[in-house]
Symmetry: D2
Subunit: 344 residues, 4 copies
Amino acid sequence: MIEVLNKMPRLGVAVAGLGRIGRLHAEIIKVWVKDAELVAVVDVIESLAKSVGESFNVKWYTNYDKALQDPRVDAVVIAAPTFLHKDMIVKAAEAGKHVFVEKPLTVTSEEAMEVKQAVEKHRVKLQVGYNRRFDYAYSKAKKDIEEGVIGKPLAYLAVARDPDAPPGWVADPKLSGGIFLDQLSHDFDMARWLMRDEIIEVHVVGGAYIHESVKEKGDLDVVSIVFKFANGAQGFIHGTRKFPYGYELRTEVFGDKGVIYVGTNRDELYARGTKDGLTYFGAPWFVKRFYDAYVNELTSFTKAVLEDKEPECTVIDGLRAVQIAEACWRSVKEGRPARVILNP
Amino acid sequence: MIEVLNKMPRLGVAVAGLGRIGRLHAEIIKVWVKDAELVAVVDVIESLAKSVGESFNVKWYTNYDKALQDPRVDAVVIAAPTFLHKDMIVKAAEAGKHVFVEKPLTVTSEEAMEVKQAVEKHRVKLQVGYNRRFDYAYSKAKKDIEEGVIGKPLAYLAVARDPDAPPGWVADPKLSGGIFLDQLSHDFDMARWLMRDEIIEVHVVGGAYIHESVKEKGDLDVVSIVFKFANGAQGFIHGTRKFPYGYELRTEVFGDKGVIYVGTNRDELYARGTKDGLTYFGAPWFVKRFYDAYVNELTSFTKAVLEDKEPECTVIDGLRAVQIAEACWRSVKEGRPARVILNP
Amino acid sequence: MIEVLNKMPRLGVAVAGLGRIGRLHAEIIKVWVKDAELVAVVDVIESLAKSVGESFNVKWYTNYDKALQDPRVDAVVIAAPTFLHKDMIVKAAEAGKHVFVEKPLTVTSEEAMEVKQAVEKHRVKLQVGYNRRFDYAYSKAKKDIEEGVIGKPLAYLAVARDPDAPPGWVADPKLSGGIFLDQLSHDFDMARWLMRDEIIEVHVVGGAYIHESVKEKGDLDVVSIVFKFANGAQGFIHGTRKFPYGYELRTEVFGDKGVIYVGTNRDELYARGTKDGLTYFGAPWFVKRFYDAYVNELTSFTKAVLEDKEPECTVIDGLRAVQIAEACWRSVKEGRPARVILNP
Amino acid sequence: MIEVLNKMPRLGVAVAGLGRIGRLHAEIIKVWVKDAELVAVVDVIESLAKSVGESFNVKWYTNYDKALQDPRVDAVVIAAPTFLHKDMIVKAAEAGKHVFVEKPLTVTSEEAMEVKQAVEKHRVKLQVGYNRRFDYAYSKAKKDIEEGVIGKPLAYLAVARDPDAPPGWVADPKLSGGIFLDQLSHDFDMARWLMRDEIIEVHVVGGAYIHESVKEKGDLDVVSIVFKFANGAQGFIHGTRKFPYGYELRTEVFGDKGVIYVGTNRDELYARGTKDGLTYFGAPWFVKRFYDAYVNELTSFTKAVLEDKEPECTVIDGLRAVQIAEACWRSVKEGRPARVILNP
């Protein structure tokens, strides 16, 4: 058996979309994912595709369709803008390639349904990049909750404060899904995962108070979302597109026997005391904070494909996050609670 | 002028209702409020009235009406159960006595309106005991916000976790106003005060998950309230009638240039590291946490009466808290956001 | 038996020396120590004695000897400058009065020995005001250590940073004992108490770096003391007469199975985040930090006298602290470790 | 110009000694140091050399001398046991190879002097692996101190607690230098670097209290070191070979205008509150805590060689650490302060 395992071919992976996150995924596959091999990179910008390809010493493409024809490519990591996800996933599925797609899955739930049908039809694996599931601290929360350390979980609370206005195409909610999908769907996924339950209704209070760029495009920059789980538990997420120093990400889960706290608003490792007080600085930005989680999620995806198992964050998980974000937008527009349309 | 000041009579104060908080107020007036004099204590339970009166060496009454006839009594501190507040305040006003009333002002807004009319008609001062306004940390928040340290305040968030189920009459929401009025009206008052704005709409998700005693009486023990301010800012309060160790009270105010954090979930002064990790214990319980605030509020009340000034937490402030709590109950019953009826 | 207890006379206490700490002790006896009665206050400054006496409504003296003749005085609390302690204690003992003396016991060990003989000869109780023994956090450390939570205690470490240069007579080490006795003897007492062992050798590195006033008088303002306990354990105390914001006091005890941490360098209850980082401010100054400890130590002293028991911080404890401080001065002068002369 | 830069040859590096740290260095050179190329690995254990070589796809040697003859090797990273450092460095120098040597430089100062002469004679670069100099938090401390944020630095304090007894050859102080050199020379280097001054005298109190293995070999497991800097400032380091959960590393620098705090005793990112209190767990172990610092130091070394500059942590820095550790051992043996023999 050992020989067989040793001979198991490594998974050939192409990374498509070479922005910050795409390059990060490429680096991680190149360096850290033992059973995967970075075989190609893809970006429509030739200079980018070329320089990244050369720096990793792999084949580079500007044409995604061609990359999908590359026989060495077993799977694609899609890190292109959200509004391109649906087409890219469908094409990959049609080409028989497995897919790891950066969160969120798609911009709309209709797109997500198309994606679902495609991957089911073509029997390829799909994993959505909700990386916090693979972070040690959130994983510890999950484990403690599952083991009953806090009793029955009754409330999920989260604060997520990004440093500043979303850049580029992300600023347009029609392309990115806006604050609810682009930023806060991480928290929806965590809420569902940690509470092991579906969110069924959301109510949002929010506004575009800070950034003109956000307001212009119809997005929001400070939102408070209160929600209900199917089993009666409750949740709250507060998100902002501004934080004065660094980045803030805190989650707590309240149970009838205990409380879990994840995250912090400061870097505990350095402080400076002067006559003005004791000053801490920002906690590490997400690339550093979640580097291990990125490694773990791609390792997990690779394993799921090679061992033919269900990925740990499925197309349904991706769909749910989109559905919840859509409900948030409906709540904003109607000024009242909105049901999450959980279909299927 | 100096002679006049020196001769200024101290304010004669009676404390009515000698439960935990009533005795605390009596102690504080006796010991710490320079310009007030504890002249009487009142409780319907004779043994209690007698023992407290003797321990403070002051006159004691079991009959509130008689106490109000005592010419040495200039003002009463009402620390009786909430459902008695309205009658006691009205009687005090009719007797020409100034009133310091423990929070909340009354159980209902109708009662609060009666109270308002009585104190206005009889031209007595009334201060409501929202003591956090007088706490150094919340005061620092107020000062920083007013000075623009965090820019424009856009969101108020609070977590308030009491150790356990409410005891005695407090357990009955018809007598105490339930979790929204009895426990969380402190946070409504803080929200209005720190944001310097009115709360106009609330939406509640909550349940009675933990305590049978709470469920039986129709109260809730875990609630999440999201709300809107008149100027468009947003708020959130999470309250529970259970906390596994100690007591948790945290507030943050997010502005477009900064964030204020008040409160903690642990006692920073002691930690024990063993193979099981590093363990902190509960932060001080409210009597200790807010002792100085209790002293300050009674000192402020005394000053307001003696100098004929508007108290720092008025009948309108008390009324607002009741109105917001009533809106919370409506939201719970109707399962949707409820407007706060800001009248007058 | 109950009648006897009920009839037990309260302890009549005079406070001698009405500086900040003397007034604090007077207030605490007046207000918080049930079985003691403040019967007199004493200070050589007539205006001070008079105003404090009147504010507490007790007899006031400018002549300590006369106060000792007052038959209502059963015990004296001595809060005069350290260099006066010896004479005042000896006189009190001769007059048959019990003594509570602010730390340190005396300036020199010779004086301490005189004191010891006097209180033994006249069979009066003496308690030294090392109040941290009565603080809840240090008490919790004591309890945890005694219960074996950290295994065998192997090292005591402390950092004590006062805000600024010592004022008035305290600046003169010949009158106050200097930094080792005046400031750090608290830590020597804690070290002995928590480790339940004697300090037998000290080695000091230090200097007068910051304050001219300190240097002129021959005192030091930044010192590091490493020491040995009789049983082989080790200790370290770092003290400064300067701290840029507030006040810092931290202690840790390392054992072979765990570590205890007491104290903090910031006020956890308030923080302000701006573009410059997250700023905390100073922890409460000692009067507030240790108010309860002051109440507890005087309550304990009162009980020791009324019940004829050994006080919790004895003349020997006071003597040891003086002996250790003296050894520190020898170490400084000789530039090498100095034995603590533990006699008797 | 760009062509020239592009043609600049990458530095060919061999890693000799493939224990935990050696493999870490190999990984970092392979993956993260742009201008270096991992060309060979060396270990006397053939199976280890082979497996590491194959996993990195580089040449592997069991014979160090042969590796030094490899013309592709421009520099060696020496991560073998300390007692082998001297010979390995001298040989490398003789072969004209630059040297990056893991801390400490050598076991004795005599060896360090030999090393010094060899690298000077053969004009090769040598950098010692005191990686904390390249950590972002310690670097921030350095920058703040240099910019005067805390005024004049007057005291350096550090606590360093390793999880458990040293394994293998490290347990023998004759081979590793013992606790002072193997564990705490990091802190000596930090003290010299942050205070920008030489340590001239040390006094140690310590013992072998916990581990039989430590006691048997003549090493210590709990030590407290107080020391003097040439300019009169003071220092203190407390080190233990035991910590009940995780790992503790804290440093503070006290100046006349401020205090810097680096490090923590807990992982701030996760806490669990139950009826037993609020529990935090260990901060990341050094490999994770200092991963970036390891990358930075090797990048810096590579740059120093390629650009012919003085490395950031020189043979003199390495020698000083050895000299201080030797003084600590003398202090332990003689029971009194020992001068650090700063020669040259």
